[in-house]
């Protein structure tokens, strides 16, 4: 799909015109159906261009995953690579998750004990 940005802006303007300015009529309903089909077509094309599940050429399988699989035991000492990732390589991310838990429980208690 090679659509220039001008086409995208035109489609957005058409959608805005149809949804916000056109009075209710048969033509408006027809245009709404056409626009919804266009959006659905774009989504289906996007999904069709995604790599197949499990394919070795997917962008997710880059050198980072290879590094984790090959060097996790030597670099962290943990056999479980998942634990090595979430507690060593991405430990700062885990700290963020712990912060999310803390904020959630603080908000729940604050709103429940307030009344």
């Amino acid at each position: 799909m090679e659509a220039s940005p001008l086409v995208g802006v035109g489609i957005l303007l058409l959608i805005a015109y149809v949804f916000f300015y056109l009075p209710r009529s048969q033509i408006r309903n027809l245009l709404v159906i056409v626009i919804l089909f266009m959006i659905g077509y774009a989504l289906v094309v996007t999904v069709a261009e995604m790599p197949v599940f499990g394919s070795a050429n997917a962008p997710a399988y880059n050198h980072v995953a290879e590094r984790y699989i090959e060097g996790a035991v030597a670099e962290t000492g943990a056999i479980n690579v998942i634990a090595a990732i979430i507690m060593d390589y991405r430990a700062f991310d885990t700290l963020g998750e712990a912060t999310v838990l803390f904020v959630a429980i603080a908000a729940a208690i604050a709103s429940l004990k307030a009344h």
């Binding site: 035991v73 670099e75 962290t76 000492g77 943990a78 056999i79 479980n80 998942i82 634990a83 090595a84 979430i86 507690m87 060593d88 430990a91 700062f92 885990t94 700290l95 712990a98 912060t99 838990l101 803390f102 959630a104 429980i105 729940a108 208690i109 429940l112 004990k113 009344h115």
Partner: protein, 147 residues
């Protein structure tokens, strides 16, 4: 809910659930699991206790003060373990680069700080789930301020 069968079975089952939860936490770096899953299992044992007995008995077993202490303690424990890396002249939450001994892979005490980090996460997740359950079910209304 006051049922003899449920009470007897849950009294039998709760220690085993807690043992399994602690196993999942402590062996997180060796087998599938870790702090999040093990903490949820430990918390589910306390939730089962509170559901099969009544909520007051459950919240007496693990009061609000202890639960909030576990909650804050887990977060502070995680941060303190992370600060060890800075103390030894490396980055925050550094493991190997801070000079922590990694041990033999496959042993229980291996993996440097991973073991201690997942312990803190497990305590934190367990206390979060327990506190949320007892707060939302109204089991400890009379423990706070009488408003």
């Amino acid at each position: 809910m006051d049922d003899l069968v449920i009470r007897s079975v849950s009294r039998l089952v709760v220690p085993f659930i807690q043992l399994y939860g602690f196993y999942v936490i402590f062996y997180g770096h060796l087998s599938p699991g870790g702090g999040f899953a093990g903490g949820a299992i430990v918390a589910s044992s306390m939730i089962l206790y509170g559901l099969s007995f009544n909520l007051e008995a459950g919240s007496r077993k693990l009061g609000h003060d202890i639960s909030s202490l576990m909650e804050s303690g887990g977060a502070i424990w995680f941060l303190m373990i992370g600060l060890i890396g800075i103390l030894f002249g490396s980055n925050f939450l550094a493991n190997r680069f801070a000079g922590v001994s990694l041990g033999t892979p496959g042993q229980l005490f291996s993996g440097g700080i991973i073991f201690f980090l997942s312990l803190g996460i497990g305590v934190k997740v367990a206390s979060t789930m327990i506190t949320l359950f007892y707060s939302l079910s109204g089991g400890e209304d009379n423990s706070g301020t009488n408003s």
